[in-house]
């Protein structure tokens, strides 16, 4: 668990960028379906993206580096989800106005002012995720706000952009595979001012924005449809950009861990400062130490040597002990260096003396290593086994990271780990990477058009909350849960088409589903239609509401099976009243001694027996009624 920290006092500043896919009928710049495919690709093509000079006459160093390494991108596509536009073989079509309208509606709900004329821009992105080498994006509205509790958070801009291709993996020979089905799906982006002061608040603001987006009824839901970027800074630290947090629940941890990481890095910098080690003391001097490991028991190194690779080492003066210092749980300064080495050197990992002897590397080998690089007991040594070019690139990155550790916190773009900690992704891109998309004419937004959209805005989350409480008599807690649930719309649909009490439906869609998910049930495999079917069956008296969890569990384990098949397989079919009467009569006769002895007091025990055998197959109220009748008959 993160430390207890007074975030306000340390001057934490967080800004959020929320991206969510829009539920349109076509992509943003062509008429392809905004869908993904699972099958093998029908089309593949190989490209290289070449860094171009930005308007400042500079080339993004990370991009140029990747290019020099000869990275190629293998794109995968099928004809159902991509056309020549995604392949960058045809100019984009005009902006999809259905998407513009959704964003305008969301913008108006956040009191943002629409621009008079939309200009589509190209934002340079050269990692291969866009076939063009840039992402098309445009500002739709400026200067809005969202409320969380008493605080009003300014929204700097609301924009519309195309989603990127999906990374599918990396292959031998520096080939990265991307699938272009996702490329071009419209995304709304909402950016707040960096005014968020605590981890908790970050979550709240994201929730408030998410509620508004959901309220448009025109955003996609489910994993991968929402991505949150954060920029986080503390005084003396650095602005760190964290990209692609998918779960809302993770946001607060991401912020907490980032603050903790920066504080720990500052502490390390402070201590290194006291040891009087200077940046220039750390030299790009790499020693070929392959000989030391000729007989090594370390499997990783051994394997590398078998492939004729070499072992290179670098000395980090006065760094002993710092590489094993934990910044956040399970993440040390050494781990930071390892990620850097992987990125710049494309190596599998690094070894450092703070963690040795271990991994089959002996104390003797470490001692030899010390001699070879002329390290004393205050120094740390990092080494890599790979081909010389990669190994040296990796060690260069390690040296740079070590120098940065002396200075403090380096500016970086980082990616989240599943627990909310983050790792190095790439250096922060320079500012102003945007230039106009000349292939798309500007779109004028008239006042009449804005009025039209304004006149049919969906209800605001606050209004919906009130309505849920009034119309369906949900208590506030449940109403809020429905508001934030993915299934808000489904709730109203089910309540409209069945007589099951709204509270029961709401409890199921929120608490029950959450509990099942916690138990490891893959509830996302059960479709909304199946859930509707279940409630329809309850409405028709064919199922009891007690069976819902069992039904959902079964359906989640049997994809593509019907509700009817679930009922049959689980033996949950409700028995007829006649069958019930026969069964109850038998229970009464079987227990006549008990009844004679206890009279009406035997009801509870008998009811227990009946429900034990007929649970899920009978409505409890009806069973109770029949039992009462039969008891009365018997005692008479």
């Amino acid at each position: 668990m993160p430390l207890e920290i007074d975030y306000e006092k340390i001057g934490l500043k967080v800004g959020l960028e929320i991206h969510q896919q829009l539920d349109t009928s076509a992509k943003l710049f062509c008429n392809c379906k905004p869908e993904l495919f699972k099958e093998e690709p029908e089309i593949t093509f190989l490209r290289r993206l070449r860094p171009t000079q930005s308007e400042l006459g500079q080339i993004d160093p990370a991009a140029y580096f990747e290019f020099q390494k000869g990275v190629k991108i293998l794109y995968e596509a099928n004809t159902a989800t991509s056309c020549l536009v995604e392949m960058d073989e045809e100019p984009p079509h005009p902006l999809n106005m259905e998407a513009v309208e959704i964003v305008l509606a969301a913008a108006l709900m956040m009191k943002a002012k629409p621009v008079d004329e939309i200009h589509v821009m190209r934002k340079t992105v050269i990692d291969g995720s866009n076939t063009t080498g840039f992402q098309r994006t445009c500002v739709i509205a400026l200067n809005g706000e969202v409320k969380t509790g008493k605080k009003i958070v300014p929204i700097q801009y609301v924009s519309l952009e195309e989603d990127a291709a999906r990374k599918m993996g990396e292959e031998e020979g520096d080939i990265i595979r991307y699938r272009i089905d996702r490329l071009g799906i419209p995304l709304i982006e909402v950016a707040t001012a960096p005014v968020i002061n605590s981890p908790k608040e970050a979550g709240e603001v994201a929730l408030a924005i998410g509620r508004i987006l959901r309220a448009t009824g025109k955003v996609k839901r489910g994993l991968g449809t929402i991505r949150q970027d954060l920029n986080i800074s503390i005084p003396n630290g650095a602005i760190i950009e964290i990209k692609g947090v998918q779960e809302l629940e993770l946001l607060r941890f991401v912020v907490e861990y980032e603050v903790q990481r920066q504080l720990n890095l500052l502490k390390i910098s402070d201590e290194l400062g006291k040891s009087e080690v200077k940046e220039e003391d750390i030299k790009e001097e790499f020693f070929d130490v392959t000989e030391i490991f000729k007989q090594t028991k370390c499997k990783v190194v051994h394997k590398a040597l078998d492939r004729n690779q070499r072992v290179f080492a670098v000395k980090l003066p006065k760094f002993k002990g710092f590489l094993k210092r934990e910044l956040v749980p399970n993440f040390r300064l050494g781990t930071e260096m390892a990620y850097r080495a992987r990125f710049w050197g494309r190596v599998g990992g690094i070894f450092h003396t703070d963690e040795l002897p271990a991994y089959g590397i002996t104390a003797e080998e470490v001692e030899e290593l010390r001699k070879a690089v002329k390290a004393d007991e205050h120094d740390a040594i990092v080494f890599v086994a790979d081909n010389p070019e990669n190994a040296k690139d990796a060690l260069k990155a390690v040296v740079e990271r070590a120098r940065e550790a002396i200075k403090g916190v380096p500016e970086e773009t980082r990616a989240p780990n599943p627990d909310g900690t983050t790792h190095y992704m790439r250096p922060r891109p320079g500012a102003a990477r945007m230039y106009p998309e000349t292939d798309i004419p500007p779109v004028q937004i008239t006042e009449d058009y804005i009025k039209q959209i304004g006149s049919r805005l969906p209800e605001l989350p606050e209004q919906k909350l009130q309505r849920l409480m009034k119309e369906y008599r949900l208590n506030q807690k449940l109403a809020k849960q429905i508001l934030d649930s993915e299934h808000g719309e489904l709730f109203e649909t089910i309540v409209k088409e069945s007589r099951v009490s709204p509270t029961t439906v709401a409890v199921f869609l929120t608490e029950t589903l959450k509990a099942l998910k916690r138990d490891g049930i893959q509830i996302e495999k059960v479709s909304e239609n199946q859930i509707r079917e279940i409630f329809k069956s309850i409405n028709a008296g064919e199922l009891t509401k007690e069976t819902i969890p069992d039904m959902v569990v079964w359906l989640s384990k049997h994809e593509n099976k019907s509700v009817q098949e679930a009922v049959n397989s689980l033996g949950l079919k409700i028995i007829s009243e006649d069958e019930l009467r026969v069964f109850v009569e038998k229970v009464v006769v079987d227990n006549r001694e008990l009844i004679q002895e206890r009279g009406e007091d035997s009801f509870g025990i008998l009811m227990g027996i009946i429900m034990r055998d007929l649970r899920g197959k009978v409505n409890a109220a009806l069973a109770s009624k029949v039992l009462k009748e039969k008891l009365k008959e018997f005692m008479e």
Binding site: F45, L46, R47, R48, L49, R50, P51, T52, Q53, S54, E55, G57, A63, K72, L84, M87, D88, E89, E90, P91, K113, V115, D116, E117, I118, H119, M121, K123, T124, I126, T131, T132, G133, F134, T137, C138, V139, L142, N143, Q156, Y157, S159, A431, A432, R433, M434, Y435, P436, T438, P441, P442, Q444
Partner: protein, 445 residues
Amino acid sequence: MSEKKEFLGYKGEVLETIKKAEAEIGDIIRVTKNEEVYEGILIPRSEYGDEKHVVIKLRSGYNIGIRITPNTKIEKIGKGAKPAFAPTSSPEQNPKLPKVAIISTGGTIASRVDYRTGAVRPALTASDLYSVVPELANIARIDAQILLSLFSENIIPKHWTEIAKAVAKQIAEGVDGVLIAHGTDTMGYTAAALSFALQNLPVPVILVGSQRSADRPSSDAATNLIGAVTAAAKAPFAEVALAMHETPSDTSITLHKGTKVRKCHTSRRDTFKSVNAQLIAKVENHKVTMLIEDYRKRDPSRKLVLKPEFDEKVALIKSYPGMNPAVIDWCVENAYRGIVLEGTGLGHVGRYCFEAIRSAVKHDIVVAMTSQCIWGRVNMNVYDQGRDLLALGVIPLEDMLSETAVVKLMWIFGQTRDMEEAKKLLKTNIVGEFSPRTLPEKSGE
């Protein structure tokens, strides 16, 4: 690509408002309207934009348009810095490498976007080239010149003459190959024109273009340039060829014969196809692989024969159902010297045009026939209609592309005004414009 100088693009009231604020393009301005305040760099307006909006670049890098109303105020709050494109210094030239001359005529491959304004300007000097494609320095010593800055649809026969002369000059100076950067729309026509104008070549002359502008990371310009320079520097053949992507992938560049190549797709990278002919060669991983055996070998001692004159009095007329034969009559009235009829199928034109054709032939106009089918060979002996056209004096042009045919006729009349000589030249296979055999494979895709 804009051929004009960068200009404001603002008109009418908006221009007045901007002038009143004494703001220029690139200045930082503040626009105040209905209590909303926008600050950013004043950006030029597209010449097709309306007269109501001013465009600014926000600090975030986004451009937006603001409608100017009577109560909109514009103030200049800062002087903008003029952006400068900083070409990297040219790398050292390796004297051991072959020398390649690059002649730029314009088009997408020779243009660069101004990041600040979005305006596209020509840029294909040697230093531009090295900064965009540094690998070129490892393939050849490059000498670049900007001859023209034209969209290729604006290139006309007199430009072919200019280009041919410029190529001849470079060859005379002893380069190992010549590259011509060209817009793709009419690059096929220019390739054909140069094939006729530059005969008996000692070294290769390669035309190259791109379908995506060079300022885009995904541009095909770099790969095409690398392929084309490699071919110009090292290829064993000495012909006019056109170099472009083979497929949508950046892996291989194909070299097409100048007289047998056609743009076949509006936007794809592999838009150029060899029609009724085999590819000359392929460049992959900096290596040229020949795909035909019969070609003129590179030989620097060979003497170039320059015949750069063209005569524009030639028409290309596509036949279609209901075509008005008056189109042909118009050519006769205007003293045209040649007409290429792009007929249907094996080389047919409706009987309702026969009278006009007869009249054209009578007026000493060379009338020739190609097919709008694109692939295949005309044969006017199969049907009566064809035989009748032959009887009228129409000359069948075998498997020649219509585009090549019109270029060839223009070139012929640049060489001679003698009708019989002209007809003889038209039927002679001068630079591989006819293929003797139609092969079963490679008919498109």
